[in-house]
Symmetry: C2
């Protein structure tokens, strides 16, 4: 990117070689998670023979995999023994409550990955090679896997999102959680406000996961579900808060406006719609995670994108919102975009 | 790695997410090469509509792909227009004589890539899931592709390798190039010493590529070929120089010793064997390119590895060499390991 020091530096064939070999990083991390290698590292003592034994793996394979993970910064090697880095200790050891190792399942879902084998064709066509609407085809089972495996990655963003949408508001409150998935965001609002009631919408199989999470959080008595498409289900209402988390990026702007209009129509007076999104800067090439996300939407959807704030603001305004504000989430790469109805 | 600042820094879920998504870098670069996008960038003017037209691609796909390539440092974006970085101008634009875009073909060969889909199983077994000896099975057509597509990546190393093995030596000289591939290394020795004669060994189909390159370099009158396995062909000799480029890493140490003994037996008095290898430091986790290469050998061979200098030195000594020296190649990630016979 223009702010990337590498772009301005001397020409480097290594940069090309690294990109052509980058798929090996994904394979190495996925293999390590599958072998439960990060647990073996955490339990010590970190020599190759012990790790191999715990992982029921060969010593040759274990040594080479651990060396590779060290090269890419996901393990540390000191005097021939392997140890956690701060990142692998917190986010990859299954004994850590913050572990996001399970995200490998959803991010490795063949439906998400296989289109990348046809990326040139996708760029030619301008849309996914998956049939229909791609990942957002009705009742797609991938979203059940999303609800299960991505929850640990989304969990750290729930508390800040709850605070942003509630703005300290107490007393009775009704919340609609559209495309709720794991349900963590609506559930968190219900935890922060003990008088909030939540209605969650998603495919029936996905809502089972959300209901389990609502029970775990002890908010099941204030948690209702409505199965079906966000575009077709009657939302009911009126709601004080409508959540649209990780959803708009799957659709083109006119479809987003349609959805935002429907959400707005379900709002009580003074209510707001809050979307959680990857929002790249207006240059569309920073920050890296939000900007990179567009490629996934190209590969797996018909017309989705990671929208900039000005694009989202225009959609909200076209849907009748008067005031739109972006709140970057300090604990993750996402931004909460809040639209207020007058 | 222990010297990587990231390992010591604060825990970062982004590092995990990046690794799980790294396969997209490979897909994006491969797609761009397939679409001839780097030529379109070089020819300007760099707006999405012009690039899309030149690549016969959609504007949506082109825009998102160019943004992504900018994020990963392979393009630059200024005021909404895309430009080459120094790296993409020199190494990815097909109009550049130094372009290594063709390496995408060999590095993307399914035989090299598919084992990474079974990496956990490979780590369990300690060897490739490919049948037999993996990539070094007899007459493997992948090496014809290697000879064609990897030559531009190897070319910058040929001149330094030639200088290292010749040490300024003039006059009649005989050279054996084992597993010659594209032939560039033996050919370069013949260019640097106009009285050198080269015998190249490889599979018959691969040698056709080497012979074409020898003709292009004008050394065909001093260039002979012997088709067959490096382990079975009668080397002839005696030779002043034996080249073993990118070959030892496919085998286990005893097999390497067998091969080095055979090479040594073909040497004239005072001759030397020179191997071109990825040689990681003794910690096995630096420098990144050489250290990472072990994983490819795990995935695609029965027992190969990227050997450290001390391991290679031990093999040379076991094969009867008296003096062994490592010469890092300044123009690439490789090291030339030279063994002298007394």
């Amino acid at each position: 990117m223009s702010s990337d020091s590498r772009a301005a530096s001397a020409p480097s064939p290594a940069l090309v070689f690294e990109a052509l070999s980058a798929y090996q990083r994904t394979a190495a991390l996925r293999a390590a998670i599958e072998l439960d290698l990060f647990r073996a590292i955490g339990e010590g003592p970190g020599d190759v023979a012990s790790i191999a034994r715990r992982c029921s793996a060969s010593e040759r394979g274990t040594r080479i995999l651990c060396d590779y993970l060290t090269v890419i910064g996901l393990l540390d090697k000191i005097d021939g023994r392997f140890h956690h880095t701060p990142t692998s200790a917190m986010f990859l050891d299954p004994r850590s409550p913050a572990s996001i190792a399970s995200t490998a399942k959803f991010l490795g879902n063949p439906m998400l990955r296989q289109p990348f084998d046809s990326l040139a064709e996708i760029v030619r066509r301008g849309r996914t090679v998956l049939p229909g609407q791609g990942t957002v085809e009705p009742e797609n089972p991938a979203w059940v896997e999303f609800a299960h495996s991505m929850a640990p990655m989304m969990a750290p963003m729930a508390a800040p999102l709850g605070a942003i949408v509630l703005e300290g508001r107490r007393g009775p409150l009704s919340v609609l959680d559209i495309a709720a998935g794991h349900g963590l965001f609506g559930i968190e609002v219900a935890r922060q406000n003990p008088e909030a009631r939540v209605v969650a919408i998603d495919w029936a199989a996905v809502l089972e996961v959300a209901r389990v999470n609502a029970r775990k959080a002890g908010v099941q008595d204030r948690y209702e579900t409505k199965a079906g498409s966000a575009f077709e289900v009657d939302y009911g209402g009126p709601y004080d808060i409508v959540l649209l988390t990780n959803f708009l990026h799957h659709f083109d702007p006119p479809t987003c406006v349609t959805l935002l209009k429907k959400a707005r129509a379900s709002l009580a007076r003074g209510g707001r719609v809050a979307a959680l999104e990857f929002v790249p800067n207006e240059d569309r090439v920073s920050p890296p995670m939000a900007a990179s996300f567009s490629l996934s939407m190209l590969a797996t959807t018909e017309a989705g994108d990671a929208y900039t704030f000005s694009e989202l603001e225009a959609m909200y305004r076209a849907a009748g919102f008067d005031e739109v504000a972006g709140h970057p989430v300090p604990t993750g790469p996402h931004t909460v975009v809040v639209g207020h109805a007058a």
